[in-house]
């Protein structure tokens, strides 16, 4: 076995230390929590905005346009804008992260519900379905594949962006490891672990959502 040390690409001995493992697992937990909060917030806000856009088509362009404009703001700058207002807090990071999810979520929600053919809605009405029932059991299943596609893009993006939250010293999950690794004379082990953790998490969410998508759109393949 070749001796390994801090200058190696990955210093396995460091990884196997208990203090390191604790650090990695707490980074993972933080990353998960931040992603969950962001997605929950993003879905709620995007649902409200899409609802408005679907009922008032005149506002659709404005809502989609605003979401696109937010998306073009560099994450560093958005944190910079918000710090004077909300301080170096978790709220700052969450506002920015939620803002970035809106573009793909709103676009996919609007496209999804718009893709429901009018004759299907008429048929549901003719069957005596109420608005709520129609929404839950007719429109949502038909829009599901587009909704899931948007959700996947937003989730994978969010997992990546959470790392940038570390730059304002709040949360950041695996981003915290990456930043610390850079501070310690580019200690590559920490950087690699941070990246690997973040990528694994993103892929995990992506696969889970893909699976959910396949289950809820099973009727399409019948």
């Amino acid at each position: 076995m070749i001796a390994s040390g801090a200058n190696d690409f990955i210093w396995w001995e460091w990884v196997s230390r208990e203090s390191s493992l604790n650090k990695i697992s707490s980074a993972a937990r933080e990353h998960l929590v931040m992603t969950a909060i962001t997605m929950a917030g993003g879905v709620v806000i995007a649902a409200v905005l899409s609802g408005i856009a679907l009922h008032l088509p005149r506002l659709q362009r404005w809502i989609e346009g605003t979401a696109t404009v937010i998306y073009t703001i560099p994450s560093l700058a958005l944190f910079g804008f918000l710090i004077p207002i909300t301080g170096l807090s978790l709220l700052t990071a969450e506002i920015a992260l939620v803002g970035y999810t809106l573009q793909s979520l709103v676009t996919s929600m609007i496209a999804g519900y718009r893709s429901v053919p009018a004759h299907v809605i008429e048929a549901a009405e003719a069957m005596g379905m109420g608005r709520f029932k129609r929404f839950v059991s007719v429109e949502t299943p038909l829009a599901a594949s587009k909704l899931i596609a948007g959700l996947r893009i937003a989730t994978v993006g969010t997992v990546g962006l959470v790392t940038i939250a570390a730059l304002i010293g709040q949360g950041g999950g695996f981003g915290g490891l990456i930043l610390e690794g850079r501070r310690l004379q580019n200690f590559s082990t920490m950087i690699v672990i941070g990246i690997a953790g973040s990528v694994t998490l993103a892929m995990l969410f992506d696969v889970i959502l893909l699976g959910i998508g396949r289950v809820v759109t099973r009727w399409e393949r019948r």
Binding site: I73, L76, A77, G80, G160, S188, V199, D206
Partner: protein, 223 residues
Amino acid sequence: MNELWRFVTTASNWQGHSGIWSRTCTHLEVCIVSLLIAVSIAVPGGIVAFRSRIAALVGQTAASVVRAIPSFALLALIFPLSIRWGFGLGFWPTVVPLVALALPPIFLSTLTGLRTVDSSALHAAHAMGMSERQTFRYVQVPLSAPFVVTGLRIATVQVIATATLGAFVALNGLGSFIEEGRLEPNTAKLLTGSLIVSSLALGGFGALSLCERAVSRWREIES
């Protein structure tokens, strides 16, 4: 707002190595180089993936893995390697994560574009006696072009916004205004940097939307 106006209207802030002009040019340069590299990999990649099922599977898997790598993390990883291999600070370490960012959308949209070409159009081309090459050039390319441009548009917006991270590896681009503004702290500087970046990104978005409309003109004829 007043401070912002003062910052933007001070001539010395526009000139020199760290002025607005120079930094905007550097920013655009790094974005254009990254996008060119990404297009020259992703478009041929998409074509190969369209022709071979294995290549499609490999490409799509790779795209979703690459999409999951945070740009900031890739930048942190590439930076020491770039110095060790003699590519230096600034430019090249920034290009790598930007190329990685731009590859998946362009690749996937090229593949989707080619796949959505109606098989009846291909049969018609064949029946007209077009060779494989002619079919590609006169049928598949124009019919899938709008999708490729859509992918490029998504990539462009992300690349322009993300190039700000270059400030961490000493790229003297627009990200430096944001980073300096954040550290000093100087809100006017920060706002200047981010407003320019956002306008560039929106400008790219608008320009490519126009391109998209231009290459999808055939749709109007059809309908």
